[in-house]
Symmetry: C2
């Protein structure tokens, strides 16, 4: 693995965001992340910045609904792409154990080499079975290699968690009648707007948050029902957008940022 | 040059933005753009999206002040990095002829190979002299290769145009007493907030806009004075931020986007 980590001063106000950026660039250098994944990360960075670079209460409400959706599913699957694997392979492993859920790699810019590297990164975190290398089914409506999936995993799943996912794929999974749990920093994205439950938070925070909710809610049907009742996707996304808009206005009046 | 252009339907509502993205990825494949440049482009994409993906009137006001600043300078220099060279080498060549201004390459992640490729891209557009390959001075306050510049170019310049530039570098140039004209989609960035004149617009639009203003204003001292009088950086940036915040709120109520 080529290390291109840049030193970031410990006191830097945006240290965490810059460290995530370096993790992505490392993942790119090691062949896990695609060039388009870097651009997508930049888009996410700006939404996270507008969010105040913190987990907002709307994300906590959504995380409880997300956890419930994954707990009650008969065949839940976590879909992993290059960016997520580069940022938080451990968090994926932890969530898959807590639910428990299968893990399948799904790439927009698919290559066997990238798939192998992502698989290896997950196996290093103790994941024993990673699906996706030998696809035997297709997601209807997605052309070419993007549509490949496995019968054992995503094709048969009744609930799929997608993080930092392309809108076409998220919509296609919803179109197959699956419950889709999305982690996405852009409340305006088609992924965010089409998923059953959308957690608007940075993925390295969101996955452990959902894992914590899974551990807390499992077996507690009253609280699980309440979690679903309290969550309204469109209302949640609108609240996040209002927050971002308000932060943007406020940032404009403060000195020094970015 | 490796071409990885993805076909984008002509009717796609965000076609232009997606084509710029592909141009960046092409520039990356051909060695002009650095990995961090891809992430930075993603950040810009989101601000452009919030801007409504169009040139707003505040950008037109700023462009007139920018043109005037470059016209009246004794030694104006256009600083070029990988992203700008990948996106619009012709626009750089045109602006440098209109002012006229020297062109110097300045890279955050400097490598001789990348420098040569950017130089070649500019020369293909008819630029006869590109500075930056043999630096003999430093920009005070910038460590390592980032601080390198030429005495003939940026070091001696009284006005420098920077596009999509890192905040440290923009601030350091201002610290040297130079007038800095910035093109930046992020009205919150340190570059935008420290430059003498900041044009918040997508660079492939902004440079031709400034070139047009140069051609119109040159020799017309009354209009040039007026252009500077009418421009207030902080007020201009605040107006752009309010517009973005308002667009963000509105987008939240409309179906389908991103």
């Amino acid at each position: 693995m080529v290390t291109v980590m840049t030193k970031i001063p410990k006191t830097h106000p945006r240290r965490e965001s810059l460290e995530l950026r370096e993790r992505l660039v490392d993942g790119f250098a090691s062949g896990i992340v695609a060039p388009h994944g870097l651009i997508a990360h930049g888009r996410g960075e700006m939404f996270y910045y507008l969010l105040g670079e913190r987990t907002v209460k709307h994300a906590r409400v959504a995380a409880r609904a997300a956890a419930t959706t994954l707990i009650v599913a008969k065949q839940p699957v976590i879909s992993v792409n290059g960016n997520v694997a580069a940022l938080c392979p451990r968090a994926i492993a932890d969530l898959s154990k807590a639910i428990p859920a299968k893990i399948e790699i799904g790439l927009f810019h698919r290559s066997d080499e990238r798939l192998s590297k992502i698989q290896a990164a997950l196996e290093r975190e103790g994941v024993s079975q990673v699906l996706g290398f030998l696809p035997d089914e297709r997601i209807p409506g997605l052309e070419g290699a993007r549509g490949l999936c496995t019968r054992e995993g995503i094709y048969s799943a009744d609930a799929v968690l997608v993080a930092l996912e392309d809108g076409d794929r998220a919509e296609a999974l919803v179109g197959m009648g699956k419950k889709v749990v999305a982690v996405d920093l852009n409340p305006l994205s088609r992924t965010a707007r089409s998923a059953t439950v959308t957690v608007v938070d940075e993925v390295t925070k969101a996955l452990p948050l959902i894992t914590g909710c899974v551990e807390e809610l499992k077996g507690d049907t009253t609280e699980m029902d309440r979690a679903l009742e309290r969550y309204d996707r469109d209302e949640n996304l609108r609240a996040v957008m209002r927050l971002m808009a308000s932060n943007l206005e406020q940032l404009g009046t403060e000195p020094g940022s970015q």
